[in-house]
Amino acid sequence: MTPVKELTYNQAISELESILRTMQSDDCDIDRLATLTRRATELIAECRSRLVATDEELRTILATLEK
């Protein structure tokens, strides 16, 4: 599997959707469940981190803008 950092946002979202579909289907066995859940969690965290700035980043940006 490609490390989440190397995915584009869109790739990450498509993979999330595909995981969701797999998990919703009946033939998802319990052995894969843990793997899929872990991967999905990583993907969500990565996507969030791309969308949302940390407080520190935000301060830096605002400081630059006020100059």
């Binding site: 946002y9 869109n10 859940t37 969308l51 700035a53 940390t54």
Partner: protein, 440 residues
């Protein structure tokens, strides 16, 4: 002929009387606006007429007195979405006036917005038609924004209220969405605006890879001068721009050509920022939904499996017993079946075996008895042939020197004769020998 010299006032009063006649009062006139300015509540403007080549062939000062300007302005804006501004074609009801100090002017008492609208529409239609014919009208509108546009090139006037509103709205979003922006400054008002905005677009295009899209914004306000945006060159540049363009130029109505060509049209800079923030919030919402859904699925799947496991656990002892019983019964069945099978299959074999054994035994005993009887008859024969039997019948064996004597010739007088009888021997000495053929 009068040689009397007139005072200036007398003359201007004469002119006034000549000018302000019934036929010059309250007449409808069409003209193009220029140099519109509001001072002390009065609206001053130049009214122009141009020929086909754009040369001025008539010009007059116009004024709307403060007593009627708010009403006329509101009526005009309500109908056209425009303020009186340079370049607009207008139909006005005017009265010609000549003032001894201020000279000639046309005092406006009413406006017909339909004429302006018609003219604007016609001009916009012409521009749109041309863009369409060139096949570029829809180009920018067909571009896709990324799911979450975060890198935004901003074309605006630095220090303008609209730009400040936009930045403020964008960076102080409650979700702390990450945005990066850069201002590409441009003149946003007046006749130079189109060329200035086009230059800014070109600057954005040179570092296109840095941006997800472009926003063109300027603050709204009472003195919107949107005529500048009814411009073919600007519209063509926006239409063909390789990044999606969002417009927020602060107007209430769908009134400029830019709105037709830009990928996204919003009313104000603040609205553009809100739109971008909403896209980010939607994406965050989606992530949260997916997260919850996955949690739910995992939990329900695990619960389901646990239940299944518990159920299986409960079933296990019974199942084991049942299994053993089933196995036993199967075994019994198998044994029965097997014996049935072996009965059918083995019996003939066994019978045959038995018969064979019997045959072998019979053959053996036959053979033995035959041998025995053979032996018996031999013994009888043997016994019959044995000298003992002869001896018993009264015969005897005569030996001389251990040799059986069969002829009297082999005996001499004085020979020691050994006579064997059936039950013993007699040793005697021959005293005479007689043969059948005579004495010797």
């Amino acid at each position: 002929m009068q040689n009397r010299t007139l005072s200036l006032l007398e003359l201007t009063r004469m002119v006034t009387a000549l000018v302000q006649r019934p036929e010059t009062q309250n007449v409808w006139v069409t003209a193009e606006l220029s140099d519109v300015a509001v001072r002390g509540g009065h609206c001053y403007m130049e009214l122009l007429q141009k020929d086909d080549r754009g040369l001025q062939i008539a010009k007059a000062r116009g004024v709307i007195w403060a007593s009627s300007f708010p009403r006329i302005d509101a009526e005009f804006f309500a109908a056209t979405g425009q303020r009186f501004s340079t370049g607009l074609k207008v139909m006005l009801r005017v009265s010609a006036s000549f003032h001894s100090v201020y000279g000639f002017s046309l005092v406006v008492s009413a406006v017909n917005p339909d004429y302006t609208m018609g003219d604007l529409m016609r001009r916009r239609r012409e521009i749109l038609q041309r863009l369409k014919q060139e096949g570029i009208l829809e180009m920018n509108r067909q571009l896709q924004w990324p799911a979450v546009p975060q890198r935004i090139a901003v074309i605006s006037a630095p220090g303008a209220a609209g730009y400040g509103d936009f930045i403020n709205q964008l960076y102080h979003n409650p979700s702390h969405l990450r945005f990066s922006t850069k201002l590409y400054p441009a003149v946003m008002q007046g006749a130079t605006a189109p060329a200035s905005i086009i230059a800014a677009l070109e600057a954005v295009a040179t570092d296109m890879d840095m941006w997800d899209g472009v926003v063109i914004i300027r603050g709204g306000g009472a003195t919107s001068d949107l005529q500048a945006y009814e411009d073919y060159e600007l519209a063509a540049n926006v239409a063909q721009f390789p990044l999606p363009v969002a417009i927020g130029i602060g107007h209430e109505r769908d009134i400029t050509v830019l709105d037709w060509v830009a990928n996204k049209r919003l009313k104000t800079p603040t609205a553009v920022a809100e739109w971008l923030v909403a896209l980010g919030d939607d994406a965050l919402g989606f992530l949260m939904t997916v997260g919850n859904r996955i949690l739910q699925l995992t939990t329900s799947r695990l619960t389901g499996n646990k239940e299944q496991l518990a159920h299986a656990e409960g079933l296990l002892p019974i199942a084991a017993r049942n299994a053993v019983e089933r196995a036993q019964s199967r075994l019994r069945n198998a044994a029965t079946t097997l014996s049935g099978i072996s009965g059918r299959r083995l019996q003939p074999q066994l019978t045959r075996l038995d018969m064979t054994l019997k045959a072998i035994a019979d053959a053996a005993s036959n053979r033995i008895s035959r041998q025995r009887s053979l032996l018996d008859s031999r013994q009888t024969l043997l016994e019959a042939l044995s000298p003992v039997a002869t001896l018993k019948r009264g015969y005897s064996i005569t030996r001389v020197d251990g040799h059986a004597v069969t002829s009297a010739d082999s005996i001499r007088t004085g020979s020691i004769i050994e006579t064997t009888l059936a039950d013993g021997k007699v040793i005697s000495t021959a005293t005479a020998v007689e043969t059948s053929s005579g004495n010797r």
